[in-house]
Amino acid sequence: MDDHIDKQDSKKDAVAEIDFISSIILIVFSLGIILWSLKMPRPGGWSSAPGLIPLFLSTCTFFMGLALLFSSIRNKGFSQLITKCRGFSFSQSISSTKAKRSLWIILLTAFYMFVLLGRVPFELASFIYLASTLYVFWRKGGLLKIILISTLLPFITSALFRVLFVVFMPGESVFDWLLSYLR
């Protein structure tokens, strides 16, 4: 029972710390938008000004940020954050399995979307992405299965969208060449 209460308390503390940081970001962001909205031109007066709705929304966001800040301070978010910052170690924070897995999937996806797509044909880019992702996260599947899935699926996706749904793929596709050849 005590253990359960301790767990709940630590979760509440963690939320309060995060809320403290989030509220500061929100307040700064909304202040920026308020200033920006005030600088926008008002060709037909305030009633139809382009900055009217952004001003209204960012003012609301500012007050919501303030409410979040007060609530996190009330839940000792600030003091917990200071304590945590003192004992913070970057290498320790990324050493957990979950953090490592998060980093891997984000980096692999970023590489696929920013580097591969649009530069190499869709099927090849997707093969590289799938093969590397499956290799990292599903090693027990075996290399043969990984290669088979990574080769077949991009072609199936491409065929389904390009031929059946008439949707273009990012970058060139093998089916673009095939369709232009058939025409």
Binding site: L52, P54, L57, I106, W138
Partner: protein, 486 residues
């Protein structure tokens, strides 16, 4: 009546069934929305005979509206934006091994919603249009605001503040781009890609699709959806038990469909929210009644959206705008004189909707087992494959690489939001409704220029909506206070 029975010819039934099955598959793919399907069909339908084009489009329309529920239930990624409430209520049940039953209930609810939509479409043409015409810019803007406020309260009941912040940020994101009244560029940072605004499809895919991929794969042992399909057809008494929700959601769906500009997104969120209030239940913990509320409204919205499209020539939603465009390519101009200029067309559409509804029901049940089997694959295999679909879904609308980058950015942002306890749903709704709210409220301000506050408040629908918005905020704050007190 001859036109009505024409829709039941075997050839047209076959075409409609193919359209419904294609629509279901389309809707199930993350990011491929009903609007996109209908927009693509505008060009394709030109080569078809008029009756075939109408029937095929109605089949795809009905199928894809339901299809979004499949991926929403089984992989926690809504295929279409309006499937978000189905995802909230259905996915927790799918995790407990009831994916088949959730889908069966979704299909049945969709069919009931469709029937109600059709019946109300046929019977309430003059009445519904009369109500819809009371919604001018002011009322539509307030309705959008209420949609975001209610979704904020619903997704995080004990911390509504975070829900509202998420919704408000979504509304702000929607304001990026050239605004519609003076043509002024807002928050574009000189980026030409942002001139037309932030497209909501990549935002939706990023926030729901990529976020789910990042979150589920980062778990050392990701959750598994049971391969056992189990009972699919919901027990009759279950549907009977939810009769109040069915009737309520049907009216919400129909009415939001009739109001121009309010699509199925608003319908499902409002119906889900109103349902929670009436039943005093929390659907997001997993509840079939939540699925019923969302799916009935979603599908009743089809009939509702077709109402102003057919009778006034004003599209009730984006997919019906594509429907109107496709018909105009065939030389059919919809509007108040439709009965004189196109005698029998209305009856043919009624018949088509009935066929599409039955075809959707049969095709959807046939697709449940393969869908559950497919989506119960280990997450480590399934989710990277879903990433491919996310890429295609984001790219398909504008064929722009920028949309893929945007999707990635929002995926990362959604992941951070999830880790910090901010709900994603209200932000998506904010992005979808932001422009509608902005333009309508400012247009209303122009109309109200020179009027006193009492003149503005003398509009009954608008004033009722203002009271509802205020009550939504007050009830959220009250609930939070009560929770803190406990």
């Amino acid at each position: 009546m001859y036109s009505f029975w024409m829709a039941f010819s075997p050839y047209l039934v076959l075409i409609c069934s193919a359209g419904a099955a294609l629509g279901i598959m389309w809707g199930a793919m993350p990011g491929l929305s009903t609007t996109m399907a209908m927009a693509l069909l505008v060009g394709l339908s030109y080569g078809m005979a008029t009756d075939v084009a109408i029937i095929f489009m109605l089949g795809v329309f009905t199928g894809s509206v339901f299809g979004g529920a499949i991926s929403a239930t089984l992989i926690n990624i809504p295929g279409t934006p309006d499937a978000v409430p189905t995802q909230l209520a259905g996915f927790p049940l799918a995790k407990k091994g009831q994916g088949g039953l959730v889908l069966g209930t979704s299909i049945t609810a969709s069919m009931i919603g469709n029937w109600v939509g059709i019946l109300l479409l046929v019977s309430s043409v003059p009445f519904a249009i009369d109500i819809a015409l009371k919604f001018a810019s002011w009322e539509v803007g307030l309705l959008a605001l209420w949609g975001v406020a209610i979704s904020g309260t619903l997704t995080v009941r004990e911390a509504p503040l975070k829900g509202w912040i998420s919704g408000w940020l979504g509304l702000l994101i929607a304001l990026v781009g050239r605004e519609g009244i003076h043509g002024y560029e807002r928050f574009t940072f000189g980026n030409r890609e942002l001139l037309l605004g932030v497209p909501y499809i990549p935002v939706l895919i990023g926030l729901f699709g990529l976020t789910e991929i990042f979150d589920a794969i980062s778990e050392p042992s990701p959750y598994v959806i049971s391969q056992k399909v189990g009972r699919v057809l919901p027990p009759f008494r279950l549907i009977v038990r939810y009769w109040k929700s069915i009737i309520r959601s049907s009216f919400v769906g129909l009415l939001t469909g009739v109001i121009p500009g309010c699509g199925a997104n608003v319908a499902t969120f409002v119906s889900y929210g109103v349902g929670e209030r009436f039943t005093k239940k929390r659907f997001s913990k997993g509840d079939l009644e939540g699925v019923v509320c969302s799916e009935v409204a979603n599908n009743a919205n089809i009939g509702g959206a077709l109402l102003p499209s057919l009778v006034l020539g004003i599209p009730g939603s984006a997919p019906t705008a594509a429907f109107i465009a496709a018909l105009s390519l065939h030389g059919i101009i919809l509007g108040p004189t439709i009965e004189h200029e196109q005698p029998g067309l209305l009856y043919f559409v009624y018949g088509g909707l009935i066929i599409a509804n039955v075809a959707m029901y049969v095709s959807a049940f046939a697709l449940i087992k393969p869908s559950v089997k497919l989506f119960s694959l280990p997450r480590q295999i399934l989710l990277p494959v879903v990433a491919l679909l996310c890429v295609v879904g984001s790219f398909a609308e504008k064929l722009a690489m920028f949309d893929i980058y945007l999707m990635f950015g929002f995926g990362l942002f959604g992941y951070i939001m999830r880790k910090t306890g901010f709900p994603i749903g209200p932000m998506v709704l904010g992005v979808i409704l932001g422009n509608m709210m902005d333009e309508n409220l400012r247009r209303a301000m122009l109309v109200f220029r020179g009027q006193t506050i009492w003149q503005v408040l003398s509009r009954p629908v608008g004033t009722t909506l203002i009271i509802i918005v205020i009550l939504t905020f007050i009830s959220g704050l009250y609930r939070k206070k009560r929770k803190v007190g406990v």
